[in-house]
Symmetry: C2
Subunit: 197 residues, 2 copies
């Protein structure tokens, strides 16, 4: 005899597909759903379907958008373009309310080991944006890992001949971090990229 | 300008209603949904609605069931009844494959501070089951907290005049636990309920 009846077992399996969710956590989520009202469960299911159906990608920057052109691209100057790997990276930066330029979401990084070439991500679209003119600076904000660095270098090389300034987010010891517990690669980077006081 | 577009923000809010899910985790779940195929999102939404619609409670024991009578009640002898607070407790016990009797889910415990009286939980139904005869033992398996203990004591008092054996799950130091790190109440209980070797 199965421990879970079918509809509960199935819901647990669905929750277990979410990132970082194991069987135990999936169970807790499923119990919560069963204790919801019919209306609450309906709102939850609708939110899932709506997010999937209504969320598209901005035709200019590739970020999440309900319209053809996202609110950021529609309302801001394009002098500075911040290049990120994924929409969630743009959202993380946007949360700071510190950057007033626009974004360009690559939807991936160059990763030959996994068969991702420059043609598989939105590099060409970025070059076209810069070629159309009016761009003064491109900020490479891909992750500071091997693929992110390689992608930033590759794109910088393509952009420089176009006469645009290309910068990279600084890397180093996280604010509040401790030297002792900082990994060697980060520490070395912090030393190499030290700033004059 | 909102950081999240409406359908994403709404989905994040829905995920954040799940137990132990904060904003950050809800975001990660929402991103996962957006990256699902249309079919996957549909399957997820359907599982939520189905769990809510198809899961009912067994008319005998009160556990989750798709039918009027659950598979456990339909197939097992009722000589031993294990009394639990919630369906998930019955599922936890069932997972052991060690208990061959049936369950009785109270759907709560007596908690006067929060206005839960014996009439608000399935006490009467339990008495009726025992009165119908054939029951030899009732195992009280409510949680070992104040309300769970009080509920177990209350029900035991009602059951004893009916000539049925009433037992309680043993309490003590968890297997693999260490004396040093066991809380005082548990340690005292382990001492009081010590067993002869």
């Amino acid at each position: 005899m199965e421990v879970f009846i079918e509809p509960i077992g199935r819901l647990i399996n669905e929750f277990a597909k979410l990132p970082g969710v194991g069987k135990k956590t999936a169970q807790r989520y499923a119990y919560r759903v069963i204790n919801m009202t019919e209306g609450e469960a309906r709102a939850f299911a609708d939110a899932i379907l709506d997010a999937k159906r209504k969320v598209r990608f901005c035709k200019i920057c590739g970020n999440f958008s309900e319209e053809d052109i996202c609110a950021v691209c529609a309302s801001r100057e394009g002098k500075q373009i911040c290049v990120v790997k994924e929409p969630k990276d743009a959202i993380a930066l946007e949360r700071l309310h510190a950057f007033k330029g626009v974004y360009h979401v690559l939807h991936g990084v160059i990763d030959p080991m996994n068969g991702v070439t420059p043609n598989d991500i939105r590099v060409r679209e970025l070059l076209e944006r810069v070629q159309r003119g009016g761009v003064e600076e491109v900020i490479m904000a891909t992750n500071p890992d091997v693929e992110g660095e390689a992608t930033a270098m590759y794109i910088a090389k393509l952009l420089k001949p176009l006469g645009v300034k290309v910068t990279r987010l600084s890397r180093g010891i996280p604010i509040g971090g401790e030297l002792e517990y900082t990994d060697d690669v980060t520490l070395e980077r912090a030393l190499v990229e030290r700033k004059e006081l």
